[in-house]
Amino acid sequence: MRALRILLEKEFRQIFRNPAILRLMFMMPTIQLLLLPLAADYEVKQVKVCVVDFDRSSYSQRLVHKVTSTDYFQLVDYTDSYDKALRYVESDEADVVLQIPEGFEKHLVKENEVTVFMALNAINGVKANLGGAYLRTIINDFNGEVRVEWLQPHGMNAQPVIGVEAINWYNPLMNYKIYMVPGILVILVTMVGGFLSALNIVKEKEAGTIEQINVTPIHKYQFVLGKLIPFWVLGLVILTIGLIISWLAYGIVPVGSLLTIYIFAAVYLLAVLGMGLGVSTLANNQQQAMLLSFFLMMIFILLGGLYTSIDSMPRWAQVFTWFNPVTYFIEVMRMVVLKGSSLFDIRWHIAIVFLMAIVLNGFAVFNYRKRS
């Protein structure tokens, strides 16, 4: 026990003496939490639309007006040359071309049927997709409006219309920030824990101090614990800073109890640190450790369900996420912060991540060799 105390004393001394780590501890949560939610915005606004109107009738004008009166579209040009519109797309000045054919009004009124043409710049897939979908919705609305107008003078009801009223549970305003911020917090805790622990032991390998420790009678588990505990504390500090920032900046207060979050985070950090320590036993220098950690982090984070829904991943990727600790923490954070889930609700999450912690740390202790 005394040896462990001496090890911890030394680690904490080195951490507090390292201004880069201290700065990172405050700057990383602040900057990431303020910037990343903006980047992870799925709403598409300001889709640049160019209208090619070959009809120039009152109905076509009305359609154009309806499109441009929303926040989502910005009219680039109103023209009667398709070539000109294409040039806008080529020079990236327009995302969508809406072409209204000649005789639009005539066909609409007389034949009750008309086709408009929509061309999307699919280089930015998300914008093209969503822009197209918005435009389709607006045209449908326009269609409905026109029909209702025509039918009403005859005293008849319009086609029966089924209206859909949606309520968004747990996030009533569909504020994507409330959805993203808890997940970004998870990434933060994961990165700090994973990288710092991986680099730490490797740094001792590079400096040669690990040899000096290996000739001492210290036990492997003491050494590993001496490295684990400081970063475990650091991870919880980062989580706390992150929770404070998300409260100050976004007003997010967990619906569930903070204790639940901390209990899960405590177990989760054991797993992440175990991975970091495992990496450090495999790597011989800081570059290797960095690359290996980066490789693992990328996979875990991108397949963690933060940016994309796990339900829409292919089956094999879904199976992989069962073994991804990040997935569990993101899920737990969203459950507790948004829905107010209790410790009992997340008991399986805790059990599984705890198991991962045992396996990863077991690997680290096993693979750490005092003798080669």
Binding site: R2, A3, R5, I6, L7, E9, K10, R13, Q14, R17, N18, A207, G208, T209, E211, Q212, I213, N214, V215, T216, P217, I218, K370, R371, S372
Partner: protein, 248 residues
Amino acid sequence: MNREVAISVRELTKRFGDFTAVNAITFDVMQGEIFGFLGANGAGKTTAMRMLCGLSFPTSGSATVGGYDLATDPEKIKRSIGYMSQKFSLYDDLSIVENIRYYGGIYGLSDREIKDKTDQLLHTLHLEDQAKAMTGSLPLGWKQKIAFSVAMVHQPKVVFLDEPTGGVDPVTRREFWTMIYEAAHAGTTVFVTTHYMDEAEYCDRVCIMVDGRIEALDTPDRLKDQFKSANMEGVFIQLARKATRTDG
């Protein structure tokens, strides 16, 4: 002088794949002896030393250090040895006092013992006013002396020094060897590798390794007689010239 055997090595061998770094070496070192280990770069000195410290598994052969068997009791050996590697092995971002406390604590010294050791060490090295300075800011010669003192902090029976004076100025080397003599007088066995032939002269006995084998082992005087050379440098060059291995 106490003639108890401190290190006993029998046919110790280390192979890395096809390469035999240490080839069946056999020797004994007595308690309190200063045993010099010489050899060109790549002759196998460091590998042999690492095996004796329990950092590297021997491929074959056996050894005892401080009376404990290397194969069965490596952790007991670790309690009774000190080691100073070629690489500087103190923490640059800890002060002298903190480094001593760290290594002392790992060896199970009490706070009282650590404090006494620290005071004594700062006094003998005349570093009282540098106690709180970061180790990284000190000149290399000082660092090496501190590293030696730290390797001796738990009063080991045997201390292994791997090129302890590499890159150190002649005055500091002299002082360093005074420390080695003091340790040997106090009964510690000193096992030291070096490239400096004047240092070889200071050793009680010298062992010269060539290509993983021991080519000569005796007191410096008898070696000089045997090889008809005025100094150890002549002895070393005659032997090292036989080497077929190239450096690196």
